[in-house]
Assembly symmetry: C2
Homo-oligomer: 249 residues x 2
Amino acid sequence: MSSSTLPNSYTFQPIGIIESPYQEKFGVPRQANLVAAKSRIRLLAPYNTPDALQGLTEFSHLWLHFVFHLCLRQTWKPKVRPPRLGGNQSLGVFATRSSFRPNPIGLSLVRLESIHTDQQDIYIEIRGADLVAGTPILDIKPYLPYADIQPQAHAATWAQEAPDPLNVHWTPEALANLQVVEEMQNLYELITQVLAQDPRPAYHHKTDPHRVYGVKLSGYNVNFCYRNSEQAPFGAPRPCIWVLAIKPL
Amino acid sequence: MSSSTLPNSYTFQPIGIIESPYQEKFGVPRQANLVAAKSRIRLLAPYNTPDALQGLTEFSHLWLHFVFHLCLRQTWKPKVRPPRLGGNQSLGVFATRSSFRPNPIGLSLVRLESIHTDQQDIYIEIRGADLVAGTPILDIKPYLPYADIQPQAHAATWAQEAPDPLNVHWTPEALANLQVVEEMQNLYELITQVLAQDPRPAYHHKTDPHRVYGVKLSGYNVNFCYRNSEQAPFGAPRPCIWVLAIKPL
């Protein structure tokens, strides 16, 4: 088939929807597996048949193709400014995994935990997803170590390692807020891991270093700020992310 | 965004087209990196700008999202019969990388060789692709070893290792055909590597073991058959794929 006879476009339908603790783009980890939080894929009809998943649990990891559905109205540009480069250096969009792409298709590697059915619904329980709740899933494929692991592969200097996690320090007020939460330990770990990834926009680092942020996680609004100054109390590591308060949404 | 307000479908446009030695589905390796053949991506307008690729060559490997464009008219079924299981055992489609999927999106990891421009065209030269010529590319992403290599990942028994390559034995007639080919050594290696992957449909193995096949590679029709019998001549390994003849298309 020559390119002149190729269709101009291809249309795909979601086969499932992500349910995750990430309720907005802000706070979502910037790659998979940086935060071990649990999520799940709810399969949509007509794909919610156990037949389509037969043999899947023999694999430990899955590739998810998904739509960056909250970036659909953004215009594509050939260059983007990855957060890993501090937001002040631009790169070709195809040299990054930015969500602002010509085709807003994402790729995430997640750990498969289990499959469970609940009346008509089929859920694939996963860990390590970097996907906002409501993300449409286009496809699920098994991770094939013999093909997908390329030990000799090398990346650009800026992408060679995961970003160093920041210290996360809970104020007594935030810890007190946590006492009334039902799944306290899970929420503590989720918040700590998410904030250790420093979700702040890179361009705030200099312009607004003490700003207080709110991030929505698992039904709670979490207030936090960054401290790299004399303002941190005795005993708090610095630099660190300070968890200030947690309130139900 | 709740699933009730999600769009029913998403439409994407090809950003590039594959030029590869594989001129038809038959003969295409069944995973990436099983055959080291060279291919290239020709970027389509308006994506054919060097800006969109800036920084890409700092990565050694790329993920390609593509469309299984020759499988579009096939009906989706929840179960498929992977060639790796001899074609007589069925598995859930999401537990395989079969090209017959609800959304015919493929994922291949390829080695990046170089980028070159030729008048208006921009080509990304790659190795190891398992893509038929003319395949539409939807997206290109850098391979991130820290995120994409999961050494502890495990696969189903049937997918733990690449299939053992078969012996490939060239008949004197096929070797004579090769003498007049311009890039003789490249074609020899391509044919040997492709046939070592045993492109025969699994269901022929028993029903039609001596059938003579033709496969189109790099502008040539290659005739071959399988030999696991007393018919193999002295000196030829068995089992083996026998290369019988090569003719320009």
